[in-house]
């Protein structure tokens, strides 16, 4: 026999590889549900139309902050009480990212849509949310109250100590905790050896299950999220997670006015609250098209006593 048509002989008729109809996303934190938690409070919009990039949140000692004082003598004149006040400030700064593709890169796009407006919008939403979470997580080592021991795994004792610290500090409202996955893993491991009444509670039992999301559940009434953005502390020996109540963390953003003459301007919202915008531009001379991602973000610590750092082994 001769002249069989073989794949190995059809080098002019076949290509070395074909692109799959789907693709695999590289691993990254993408959920930003933590931003919707009531413990993370919105300070307001800076920059556009309000005269400053700094948003000031007044603190005021009213509605029960000072007790009434007993009158000294009948008919005497009472002294004034000083009004305790202060402020926190969020400075909003510009954040962004640009992807620029040549016409050749775009025209060979097989249709998986990685360079189109929908993909870029999804990328912007996820990136903005994670950037804000990264900024919030960086505040953990700034709380003067902490629990945990350097070089020792996070335990339930540390976790409940953090709740107690916040309660002693008179916080109200729903608590949340942002932990590094290593810290959460240590807590899950600790669940395996819980005794007493706690072992029968659904909270730690739920923890042992793989949740498949960054929201891990509610433990002793505290909503627990994980984030790989949680920083190291103590020269890399530890991770600095946190537990916070409303008032501990403030964030701000800005509404960016649509630029006149923009080829494409897409305002977006992350978690229904964080503003960002996607813009397209074209450099005809070099046949390059760019997607510009814009967001103006700022984060600051608020009431120091409303937050506790959870600093445990990395």
């Amino acid at each position: 026999m001769a002249n069989e048509i073989l794949y190995s002989g059809l080098s002019d008729q076949r290509v070395a590889t074909v692109l799959s109809d789907t693709y695999s996303l590289l691993l990254a934190d993408r959920e930003a549900g933590a931003l919707s938690h009531p413990a993370i409070q919105y300070a307001g919009a800076g920059a556009a139309r309000r005269g400053s990039t700094v948003v000031q949140i007044p603190q005021i000692g009213l509605i029960g902050y000072d007790l009434l004082t007993a009158a000294s003598t009948e008919g005497s004149s009472e002294a004034n009480v000083a009004l305790t006040d202060g402020n926190d400030q969020v400075t909003v700064a510009r954040y962004g990212k640009i992807y620029e593709a040549s016409d050749l890169a775009r025209l060979t796009d097989p249709g998986t849509g990685i360079l189109d407006v929908a993909a870029m919008a999804m990328d912007l939403v996820a990136s903005t949310g994670q950037t804000l979470i990264d900024l919030i997580a960086a505040l953990a080592s700034g709380f003067s109250g902490t629990v945990g021991s350097t070089g020792v795994d996070l335990s339930y004792t540390n976790f409940t100590d953090a709740i107690t610290t916040l309660e002693i500090n008179k916080v109200t409202g729903q608590l949340m905790s942002i932990l590094h996955p290593r810290q959460f893993g240590d807590l899950r491991t600790a669940s395996l050896s819980l005794g007493g009444a706690v072992q029968h509670m659904p909270d730690p039992q739920g923890l042992v299950r793989y949740a498949g999301s960054l929201y891990k559940g509610r433990i002793f009434g505290v909503d627990v999220f994980t984030s790989s953005h949680v920083d190291t502390a103590n020269a890399g020996a530890d991770r600095a997670g946190m537990m916070i109540a409303p008032g501990a963390v403030w964030w701000g953003d800005a509404e960016i006015p649509a630029p006149p003459g923009a080829a494409l301007w897409v305002p977006l919202m992350v978690e229904g609250k964080v503003r960002a915008a996607l813009e397209a531009s074209r450099s005809a001379r070099s046949a390059l098209s760019a997607w510009h991602q814009h967001a103006y973000l700022g984060v600051t610590e608020g009431l120091d006593a409303a937050g506790v750092g959870i600093i445990t082994d990395a």
Partner: protein, 242 residues
């Protein structure tokens, strides 16, 4: 992955034996074929980018680390938009407002130049996936070691603690007030008691915590006993109508 293509010419080894020709044929010369070599180099440490930071200490924030009572430092990341860090028109980070706001809360910054070798920061070339063509900059402390192709961070805790001890010795950071150490000792003692109770109930998982709490308590008690007697308050009569 960054691939450096380089071609090497085929060269005969000068030390190789001479070609021996015989009437029946030839054995050929010793040679290595020319190939394009791919030099990937060692993968970078697998980490994401991070901004430089300033260390700050607080008079009430202390902990036991590597057997010493040292200040628990805050890391103030130098990133615009974070804790009032700003940006100058030429792109440099403006720390003024951030350090002032931190000072209002009791935090005192430590000059970066106070670190070993003139800085307590080290700049690393890293990549989230290890690939050198996706290199980004990660700032870390001088006591952190990163490894090629790994996300492991090795911490020189003893070196870090020695540096902190040096800052206390040279007066840059005042020594821990005795009442803070005493308060930490009481907290640790309470924790130790709870942990002992758990171990007694057979919860062996807390044994490392127990051992650590006992060691920390010994350090704190020794510190308190060595510390000076605290100043007593002023005596003043409270006027009462008995």
């Amino acid at each position: 992955m960054a691939r450096t293509l380089s071609a090497s010419k085929t060269t005969a080894d000068p030390e190789a034996p001479k070609v021996r020709r015989t009437q029946s044929g030839q054995t050929g010369e010793v040679a290595v074929p020319t190939v394009a070599t791919v030099a990937d180099g060692a993968p970078l440490p697998r980490h994401g980018p991070s901004a430089p930071f300033i260390y700050a200490w607080h008079p009430a924030c202390w902990h036991v680390m590597a057997g010493k009572l040292v200040p628990r430092l805050r890391q103030m990341r130098m990133q615009p938009g974070l804790s009032n860090m700003g940006e100058s028109p030429d792109g440099r980070v403006v720390t003024r407002n951030a350090t002032a706001a931190a000072a209002d809360r009791g935090w005192t910054t430590i000059a970066i130049e106070a670190g070993p070798g003139g800085s307590y920061l080290r700049k690393h070339k890293v990549s989230p996936n290890g690939r050198s063509d996706r290199a980004v900059t990660r700032w870390a402390s001088a006591w952190e070691t990163l490894y090629s192709g790994s996300d492991t961070i090795q911490s020189d805790e003893a070196g870090f603690v020695a540096w902190l001890g040096g800052l206390i010795d040279n007066g840059s950071i005042p020594a821990c007030p005795a009442h803070i150490a005493d308060s930490l000792a009481l907290e640790t003692e309470s924790r130790l008691g709870r942990l002992q109770g758990e171990v007694a109930k057979g919860v062996d998982a807390v044994k490392p915590h127990l051992e650590r709490a006992a060691a920390d308590l010994a350090v704190l008690r020794a510190y308190v006993s060595d510390a000076a007697t605290p100043a007593a308050g002023e005596i003043e009569q409270v006027e009462v109508d008995a």
